[in-house]
């Protein structure tokens, strides 16, 4: 063949993605897509992304307030072999999110980072740069199980240590990184203390209850906490998680089934208690955000509660309107993992939850079911204003964020 008739193809530098692949290489297509969609001119806030706090557990335990427990944790981390990070409960070896290595970024991010900048700051910046995000709200990962810990004290010790570490080591390094601080909800007085101590720290834009726990959100013990958060004007979020030991999931043998149900189920239960006990009536200015349960559960629960409520309204005497109205006007929802395969159902869902004002974009990066901003901007049935609201302006409004564009695509 005449060599003038063809060009030589160039081999891509990354032939096969693995846990060592740089986030910017892995998400290179996302960045191209963001540029093509003109996201440079859109304020985009990612309300739910994650870091793996256990990578730096040795740093976090240094922040444990109790000197005896701190010493115990330090010695455990130093000398114990074959054990998970100090004090954490959870599902240990039941984390199959990477589907046998098919989705490496879920297993680990072992890419190189620059010295002098905290690894989690670097990884978060790389994700923001690639996704086209201006502000990213980060949450922990294994600590999402901490609400099930047999020692309520451990949730306080570790939750407080994590908050301090996050504020001092991560948030202070970059004002584009925000968080909703971890509340040790199993100990209401300590949750109040946490709000007082960290609620006004730079980068703290709200408060987080991890939903995987068996606590009644309507218990009188929590009214002081809700009143305090309402007064501060910052949102309170319920961040979902899964829990395979939940008896209701005892027969589910596939990770995908357990994961699909578990992440919605915990928030379905809490929302039911939240609404039927009239928390939105008692604290009308308290903004609740329901995170990482997807969206399809919302219209299901709206319809279910409305129908049942009208037959048994005497059991929910605080309510002055339908449960769905509280869910639509007093609650906000993050998008991810947005159920997109049935566009007609999705359009109906977004209409029912009043997405134009109540919906907040979230990526959940770096988890296996992460969503890109384009999933909102590509929807054919939303106005451009609705898309801009969902991708950032709704978040700016409820968190009081500066909408100056900070990214560089």
């Amino acid at each position: 063949m005449n060599d003038k008739m063809f060009e030589k193809a160039n081999e891509l530098s990354v032939q096969q993605v693995d846990v060592y692949t740089d986030t910017r290489d892995l998400l290179a297509h996302a960045r191209v897509n963001a540029r093509r969609r003109g996201f440079q001119d859109w304020f985009i806030c990612d309300v739910d992304a994650h870091h793996v706090e256990t990578v730096h557990w040795h740093e976090i335990i240094e922040y444990i307030e109790d000197p005896v427990i701190r010493e115990q944790a330090l010695m455990y981390q130093k000398e114990r072999i074959g054990a998970p990070p100090y004090g954490l409960n959870g599902d240990l070896g039941l984390r199959y999110q990477d589907v046998g290595g098919r989705i490496p970024h879920q297993s680990g991010q072992r890419e190189k980072t620059e010295p002098g900048v905290h690894r989690d700051v670097t990884l978060t910046r790389r994700a923001m740069e690639s996704l086209g995000v201006d502000v990213m709200v980060v949450f922990p990962t294994p600590m999402l199980f901490l609400g099930l810990h047999p020692q309520p004290e451990m949730e306080v010790w570790l939750g407080r240590a994590y908050n301090r570490w996050l504020i001092e080591r991560i948030l202070s390094a970059d004002d584009r990184i925000k968080t909703m601080i971890y509340l040790p909800f199993n100990s209401p007085d300590e949750a109040v203390r946490m709000v007082e101590e960290f609620g006004d720290a730079p980068g703290v834009i709200g408060f987080c209850i991890t939903s995987t726990r068996h606590k009644a959100v309507h218990h009188n013990d929590y009214m002081k906490l809700y009143a305090m958060i309402e007064e501060r004007g910052k949102p309170l979020s319920f961040h979902a998680g899964y829990h395979w030991q939940d008896p209701s999931l005892a027969t589910v043998n596939r990770f995908l089934g357990m994961h699909a149900l578990g992440f919605a189920w915990c928030n379905i239960v809490h929302m039911t208690n939240w609404v039927l006990n009239g928390i939105p009536e008692r604290f009308p200015k308290l903004k609740s955000i329901w995170i990482e349960s997807g969206l399809a559960w919302v219209p299901f629960l709206m319809q279910r509660l409305d129908d049942q409520y009208l037959m048994r309204s005497s059991e929910a005497p605080h309510l002055k309107r339908l449960p769905s109205e509280y869910m639509r006007e007093h609650c906000w929802y993050t998008t991810q993992p947005m159920e997109t395969h049935n566009k007609k159902a999705l359009a109906n869902t977004l209409e029912m939850i009043n997405a134009e004002t109540q919906l907040l974009y979230a990526s959940d990066w770096p988890h296996f079911d992460f969503d890109l901003p384009q999933e909102i901007s590509d929807l054919p049935f939303l106005s451009e204003q609705a898309k801009r609201n969902i991708l950032g302006l709704n978040a700016a409004r409820i968190f009081g964020l500066d909408t100056t564009l900070r990214k560089s695509l």
């Binding site: 063949m1 008739m5 063809f6 060009e7 030589k8 193809a9 160039n10 081999e11 891509l12 990354v14 032939q15 096969q16 993605v17 692949t21 892995l26 290179a28 297509h29 996302a30 897509n33 589907v99 046998g100 290595g101 098919r102 989705i103 490496p104 970024h105 296996f368 079911d369 992460f370 890109l372 384009q374 999933e375």
Partner: protein
């Protein structure tokens, strides 16, 4: 139409793949069952870098005559490329998703001549 020299046929193991840039296009060339197939490196789901994923044989769960199951197995006749973003799988021969036949990768024509693989774009 433009042709791009990808590599020699012996440069791709059996089974295996190579991902290259041809002008503006990224493509993955796959070798399986003695044949070559090429697909655009853009996942039918979210345009992720599907061809830069890992290869797995299709997972099956053989049924016994009485309808029971005992273990999973790999189908040596079917090879999947798995998008590293979200795990969407595609048959490297047909380009189809096993779960939704309407989800397909975009094929790139190949020409093999004198031990070299050319992509036609």
């Amino acid at each position: 139409m433009a042709e791009y020299l990808v590599c020699g046929v012996d440069d791709i193991p059996e089974p295996g793949h190579r991902v290259v840039q041809c002008g503006e296009a990224e493509i993955g060339v796959f070798r399986f069952g003695g044949e070559f197939h090429a697909w655009h490196n853009s996942c039918a789901h979210r345009q992720g870098p599907v061809c830069q994923g890992r290869l797995y044989h299709r997972v099956v769960e053989p049924l016994a005559n009485d309808g029971t199951v005992r273990m999973l197995a790999h189908d040596p006749e079917r090879l999947h490329i798995v998008c590293p973003w979200h795990g969407y799988e595609f048959d490297v021969v047909t380009g189809q998703s096993p779960g939704d036949g309407s989800l397909k990768l975009r094929r790139v024509e190949l020409r093999v001549q004198d031990g070299e693989i050319y992509a036609v774009l």
